[in-house]
């Protein structure tokens, strides 16, 4: 693994394990960034899928286990942790969400814990899992699903779909389109309104996903840079402080993604007829 120049090491560590259709029509894993790029759209990042599904299963299993064995007299340590997270999420939803919707609480909790767990993979040492998977013959392994732009866009586009669905459901198609067309400046400047509102609508999922991706990718890259450029006996001096700082970043990013989801969905539940 340590073979090759720092640039090779870094580009190896930011390459996903991609499975897809080669240009010659056969299916298989890509050997290198070039082949992965040639596959185009008909490809899937197996490592991203694996780690995101694994963390999702861990989340469901842990929360279910705690919920089933919850006790008032003798709460376990895990129960305390889960209740802490749960109360924080419920408090945020009560503060920021002003509509009536049963789905918003579970959605916010899922988003927060799942993104937190996926980001938490970033704190695993950068060579640990790639080295093990190299031993069993897997060439590329990028552990943190949120450093893959496909995963973050998947989540933000799901939120976007919910925004549009509830916008149309609550306000009706006319109300939803009316908000796009008449909102900032009134009926006289309809094209201007339409352009402005469409841009701000599309900017929401874009900034949501790019914010999470950018933070996690840059954080992961700093770890990889430390591992690539610093001699191994000095790496702890840089990577430990960065990891401690990164605990703040991963929690903050999960919290922001959750909070903005709540705010956006709250906006699509409120009508602006008074304007």
């Amino acid at each position: 693994m340590a073979a090759g120049s720092p640039a090779e090491y870094i580009s190896h560590h930011i390459q996903n394990l991609t499975w897809g259709k080669h240009p010659d029509g056969t299916w298989g894993f890509a050997h290198g960034p070039q082949e992965a790029a040639e596959m185009g759209f008909v490809a899937i990042n197996v490592d991203t899928m694996f780690w995101s599904l694994l963390t999702g299963v861990v989340f469901c299993w842990l929360f279910r286990k705690v919920a089933v064995s919850a006790s008032v007299e003798k709460p376990s340590r895990w129960q305390h942790c889960v209740e802490l997270v749960f109360e924080m999420v419920v408090g945020s939803v009560r503060d920021a969400f002003h509509g009536h919707n049963k789905i918003i609480g579970p959605l916010a909790l899922t988003i927060f814990v799942w993104i937190f767990l996926m980001n938490l993979m970033d704190l695993v040492p950068v060579d640990f899992v790639p080295y093990v998977s190299h031993l069993v013959g897997i060439e590329y392994m990028k552990m943190v699903p949120t450093t893959d732009v496909n995963a973050t866009f998947g989540m933000s586009l799901s939120v976007f779909a919910l925004m549009i669905y509830y916008g149309i459901k609550v306000k009706g198609p006319g109300g939803f389109l009316g908000e796009l067309a008449f909102h900032p400046f009134g009926k006289a400047l309809l094209p201007v309104n339409l352009v402005l509102e469409t841009v701000s609508l599309i900017a929401k999922p874009l900034s949501l996903s790019l914010r999470l991706f950018g933070n996690m990718f840059a954080g992961e890259l700093v770890f990889v840079l430390i591992a690539a450029l610093v001699p191994f006996w000095l790496q702890w001096a840089l990577s430990v402080p960065w990891a401690i700082f990164h605990i703040l970043v991963i929690t903050l990013q999960a919290y922001i993604f959750m909070m903005l989801t709540i705010v956006y969905l709250s906006q699509s539940h409120e009508s602006h007829d008074s304007h």
Binding site: F213, F217, Y255, I256
Partner: protein, 84 residues
């Protein structure tokens, strides 16, 4: 080829530098306003702190995205593919 590499390096430096400049000023103002508010009304600190961290994350995201794209230019430059 060389000029593409040189301009990419310059672009990466400018992206990181200007992003850090803006975010540094912004987060400085954010922190100072938070301290002012906390000094004026200490009982509002928990509420202000949550809002401050939310804004911190939002402000922080812009330079971080710039750093991510600068890192893309540094380590997996897409323009080199166009040169051939």
């Amino acid at each position: 080829m060389e000029s593409v590499v040189a301009f990419s390096a310059l672009a990466a430096g400018i992206m990181i530098g200007l992003g850090a400049l803006g975010a540094g000023v912004g987060i400085g103002i954010l922190g100072s306003k938070f301290l002012e508010g906390a000094a004026r009304q200490p009982e509002l600190v928990p509420m202000l702190q949550a809002r401050m961290f939310l804004m911190l994350g939002l402000t922080d995201a812009v330079p971080i995205i710039a750093i991510a794209f600068a890192a893309l230019l540094m380590f997996a430059n897409p323009f080199l593919g166009q040169v051939g």
